[in-house]
């Protein structure tokens, strides 16, 4: 196998950002037709390393060799010319254009400057086939699910003859089905000799997919695992430098008074479905279901983003119907949203400003910002959530994905909510921090907070929930107590397979 040099050989890469040594002396090799997984805690430097390979960032030190020849990619275009394509954590497609236009964006086949429409669609459908998508190439990208959009991104990479495709947390917003589909495509590509670098915090996926795993810790190489050495525990040990028990197991306590009670609540997304449920003090209730089952819409309705179109809602026995988030917040409800970039953060503001945003109103002095209270709030969030940031003034968009999510959680904890709504709370969060977040949820519950969380990760639902509401097409198809919980029953309810359930 080692007769020919590896396809890609990265040596002693260093990269510095203001206040942060993101990478130090990092080595990496990639062979032909191999799936290499890159794992590590939040802020370990995974995305930075990949952005360097893809020409987004230039390294401060080190060399990159492709086919034994040193290369330098100073732009995404140059990297593509070398056959390296990066599929970002956040997708970069233009929703208002069709599939074909997106695939060839910036690389349109043309004749004397005029785009050749026929050619573009013929070629696009060829690439689409390779990723197993059967849509007409003039479908608007905005009309595709995220999973399908991702496949379009991959087709786009294939269109520039990428030999190395890098996927940064591709499955974090995919449904189970879509994930399986993606894996099939990845396996196909591998058999066609294309090399894949795969980043994920879902270690199960890593085990299933990888030929080799490379681990980063604090911007340095922490070790490498060959195919037969890959296991959950082995990876975790390298990532965090110690052993972690596999799953978090919750110690439920006796729940108290009912905090939130929904009676025949109807959301604007599914106006003919009536939802009735309640969550009590100290209770952690999970909402399971497939993507599109109306889980996010339910949380958004409780939080006043899209007001309910019918039914009643009681918080601590008092009727409320939040029409705006502020009303929900004043009533004691907090929501950590699913899409942190769009809804969770103000990306050009600092860690301090982001973590204090909802809290400012509470600490104000006749409209004036209480700056010392603000700094305290921010410091507390950083400490409690163990946020890796050089200082409070760091602009939030420069934090790693997982650390951004921690800021979102931190800012809501500062509000001491009665009811905490969490939409995919651990998306993009590393194993170690995940457990910290679980512990935090448990502490909050123990202090009397009612928690309602949506999760697509079965382990999380099984491990954390005292009770689970399963949703399907906007309706609650089942409610399971802890002792009734199993993956099968949840999946059956989620697909509304009543006979079996």
């Amino acid at each position: 196998m080692d007769a020919q040099p590896s396809l890609l050989k990265v040596t002693a890469i260093g990269k510095q950002f203001p206040g942060v040594q993101a990478l130090h002396n990092v080595d990496l090799t990639l062979n032909r037709g191999e799936v290499l997984s890159l794992v590590g805690e939040n802020g370990a430097g995974k995305s930075t390393m990949m952005k360097i390979l893809a020409g987004v960032h230039t390294p401060d030190a080190g060399t990159i060799e492709l086919d034994g020849k040193p290369i330098r990619a100073n732009s995404v275009r140059e990297a593509q010319a070398h056959g390296i394509a990066l599929i970002h954590q956040e997708l970069n497609l233009a929703g208002n254009l069709d599939i074909a236009a997106n695939i060839f964006l910036g690389n349109e086949p043309h004749k004397a400057g005029f785009i050749d429409r026929k050619d573009i669609h013929a070629q696009a459908s060829k690439h689409l086939k390779r990723v197993g998508l059967a849509f007409p190439t003039d479908t608007l990208v905005a009309d595709l699910t995220i999973g399908h959009q991702q496949l379009v991104e991959i087709a786009k990479a294939l269109s520039v003859d990428a030999r190395i495709i890098i996927m940064d947390e591709p499955t974090s917003s995919l449904a189970q089905k879509e994930t399986e589909n993606l894996f099939k495509v990845v396996n196909d590509l591998r058999s066609q000799g294309i090399s894949i670098i795969y980043i994920s915090h879902r270690l199960g996926e890593v085990i299933e997919l990888s030929d080799r795993v490379s681990v980063l810790r604090d911007g340095e190489n922490a070790g490498e695992l060959a195919r037969e050495e890959i296991s959950h525990d082995a990876m975790v040990k390298l990532m965090v430098g110690r052993d972690l028990s596999q799953f978090y197991q919750r110690n439920a306590t006796e729940p108290g008074e009912v905090v939130i009670e929904a009676n025949r609540l109807r959301t604007s997304a599914h106006p003919n479905r009536e939802l009735s449920f309640s969550v009590r003090q100290g209770e952690i209730v999970g909402i399971a279901g497939l993507v599109g089952a109306g889980r996010t819409e339910l949380l958004q309705t409780l939080f006043g983003i899209t007001p309910a179109v019918g039914g009643t809602l009681k918080l601590d026995g008092n009727k409320i119907l939040p029409r705006r988030p502020l009303e929900a917040i004043i009533a004691g409800i907090a929501l950590a949203p699913e899409d942190r970039k769009q809804h969770g953060l103000v990306s050009e503001m600092s860690v301090r400003e982001n973590s204090s945003l909802p809290r400012l109103r509470v600490d104000q002095k006749a409209g004036m910002i209480d700056f010392s209270a603000e700094t305290n709030v921010a410091n507390e969030a950083v400490e409690k959530m163990d946020i890796k940031t050089p200082h409070l003034e760091q602009v939030i968009q420069y934090l790693s994905g997982g650390n951004q999510q921690k800021v979102v959680l931190g800012k809501w904890l500062a509000m001491n909510p009665r009811l905490l709504l969490l939409d995919e709370p651990t998306r993009g969060i590393d194993v170690g921090s995940k457990q910290e977040i679980y512990k935090l949820m448990e502490e909050l519950a123990a202090s009397g907070v009612a928690i309602l969380f949506v999760s697509s990760e079965m382990e999380e639902v099984l491990g954390m929930a005292d009770r689970v509401l399963v949703m399907h097409e906007g309706a609650i198809t089942g409610e399971l107590d802890r002792n009734q919980l199993s993956e099968e029953t949840i999946m059956q309810l989620a697909t509304d397979n009543k006979a079996a359930a």
């Binding site: 203001p18 990306s347 050009e348």
Partner: protein, 325 residues
Amino acid sequence: MKKNILGILGLFIFIFIFTAYYSEPFLSAYNMQNLIKWSSLYAIMGIGVAFVIITGGIDLSIGSVIGLVASLMALAIKKGWDPNFAVVMLLGLSLGIGLIHGLLITKVKLQPFVVTLCGLLVYRGISRWMTDNQTMQYPGTDKLDSLFSGKVLMGSFGLPAPLFFLIVVAILAAIFLNRTIWGRYLFALGNNEDGARYSGIETDRLKIVAYVICSFLAGLSGLLFAYELDSVQPAQTGEFYELYAIAAAVLGGCSLRGGQGTILGVIIAAAVIRLLRNSINLLGISTHLEYAIIGMVILCGVAADEIIKRVMARRRTAQVTTARK
């Protein structure tokens, strides 16, 4: 929200010294008083539009609001209204205009560009119609005269009234933007409106407030301009002023993408624009070139600002590197 205003300050000082060196009358008390007066007027408009730009919006109607207020004030005096009452009514009218803009933008969800472009046409038309498009004189109404266009003597140097208006407006605006929660909210929503809403910020209300502030300051400028000019031409007074205001805001560090801006930057930038006009006149450069020169300077200023920002970011990185070694 610290912003680098050194660049624009440097530009101001450079043009100032340059003109002072080559033009004798530049430093005369008369010229200086004029420069201060007009810079202040421009800065008041600029501060107004800065609020709107920080939310990610735009207001193209400023010049027409100025024209409308100035024309109606003259008309009111001519019709024998109590001038004080007229002032209050007209300031109220400007607040109302801003409110309508804000409501159309947030509730009907029209684009700010469209709403205020229509405003530009509508208010100009109304001014011309109500005054029969006649040039109107401002007869002396002594108290208001000295309030809006009087001078406070410092020795022999008279500080023009608009300067004091500017000082009050600027201090209030700076406190609002930097010290109050609503100022912070304004920046947050300019940056990510959804994110702000999800944090419990009443984004619609704040945007309306921004348009109200902008139109109010335009109305106030209208009164100041009117008393300054002593006569009003309904078809022309205030024309293009929205562009000067926007230029001052942008040159002063506001990003049209929203979420950025400082009051001090806007004031200095307004002064730069006035100073340029003044220099062009005094240095004997063809006044036909005036627009071209102002346009070029703004373009260079904004470009330089961008470059300085990048260099600073790089230098910060370098410092960290050396600190580690």
